[in-house]
Amino acid sequence: MATTSAPDETPIPSRYRTPKRGLSSFLQRLRSGDEIAHLITLAFAASIVLITLLLVYQLWTHSVLPRQRFGWRFLVTSTWDPVFENFGALPFIFGTLVTSVVSLLLALPLGVGAAIFLAELAPPRISHALAFVVELLAAVPSVILGLLGIFLLVPFLRTEVQPFLKAAFGFLPFFQGQMYGIGMLAASVILTIMIIPFIISISREVLLAVPVDQREAALALGATRWEATWKVVVPYAKTGIYGSIFLALARALGETMAVTMVIGNDPRISASLFAPGYTIAAVIANEFTEATGNLYLQSLIELGLVLFLVTIIINALARVLIVVTTRQGTAHP
């Protein structure tokens, strides 16, 4: 029983930082509970790595059939025919890429502009308050944005925006065809709303991390406020801003609900943004519970695997870029 009160008899605070080696000290620490606590927390920390590995394993083993049957053709053919069990993912890949890229093109200038305003111009109080509002916007569940998309954004696009685009830029292939409201354009706008908070909050952080000396030096040389920001501060924070763009891109590629609700869910490849489309995430959401037959189900899981790999690679890149700029652990979106 005396051993349970061992902590009181071993006053060696220095071992807190430098664990000893050797069996005797291991037993000693085991008795005082340190080693047990260490092993338990280690097991839980390791579990997150194991879960991720299990995730990859499950996705891989549950998508064997389509890989055997179609191979790489799966990614480049565009027939999606559950009846004759012929699956090609090209329309979904196309839709995912187009909506993500268009939303990035919309969100990038807006987001970086807003971040510049918050980091460089706004007084700290206002900057903080607005940054918090941006965080709240990021917290809005995607199904709610989808709800607003269906009942607010789609009618607005159909009656106001699309006729305007058609009249002004109708000679471009992107703005032709029937104006349904739902379609690639609606999905891109919803995605823009969803990724803007990421770009703003991370870009703002990296801009704030730029040393004040840089600004002062530029201003002292006679630069205007804008010139100091655009030619000195922004280039300094460039890498971190790229990081925020990659994070936003990964989010846009994997976003499901809001996109599913407004994109029209039609697997076709069309140059026009007015046309309905389909994304990888949307087809999984729509057809997973209806998938009869193993090949059908596993084709959907393979789509999930593709999505997983692409977002993982982009995320990994983004984290590296952000770490390089802020040099203090990975940033929180």
Partner: protein, 283 residues
Amino acid sequence: MNRLLAWRKFVNAFMLTLTGLCALLSVSVLLIVLAYLGWNGWQYLTWTFLTHLPAPVGETGGGMANAIVGSGKLLLIAAVTGIPTGLLGGIYLAEFGGKTFAFLVRYTADLLNGVPSIVMGIFAYTVVVLPMRHFSALAGGLALGVMLIPIVLRSTEDFLRAVPNPLREGALALGASKWKAIATVVVPASIRAIATGALLGLARVAGETAPLLFTSFNNQFWSKGLNQPTASLPVMIYEYAISPYTDWHRQAWAAGFILLMLVLIANIGARLILSRKGPALRG
């Protein structure tokens, strides 16, 4: 020379105004979301909505009581599985972690955080639904729990690192062993912040729909226990919103209103708790 200066000043003013407009536009989106959802949701929010089961197709009225309870159930499972794992993992990273392995865990957590939620749904489907051969609250809750782990892990680690070292040294100097110092001094010192981080994580997964579509599925009735398909607010909002019935649309608005209020209250509450100076560092 003067004309050049005037031009530069004009560009300066113009671009700065433009960035202000960007900020205004981005922020106003949230206000539009809030205003529109508040207006529509509040209008259709009734007592019946909160206390009744969904009405059969074609009948008006009915509510989403089962979805509200179902969401609670899913979040409970997520909390029970995700929070302890994240918490203990976070303690490891902040208090025990070496270099290489801790880096690996941290990086994996960040990557897991970025995995699309629909992929988490597939994961839970292959791990729980396929072996059990039916949809269940358990599968949905686990999907949310796995999403919760990296969030809790990273926030716990950050908050533990913010605890000043003298507190640890003091505990050790008084003869406590390391785990005692962690359990009785370090963690209690930041427990409020850690709990807030967990609450934020729960608020985030509470709005997730995609991982529930083919794990907890949906249910027009009460579901008993954890082993049956279970209705949840986000999935109900989705199905009602894409349905052709006006009455269902109204219910979707009301459900969306409740969900958004919960998420916003959790976020604002968390911000208020965290922004209080010197969060309970009295030990």
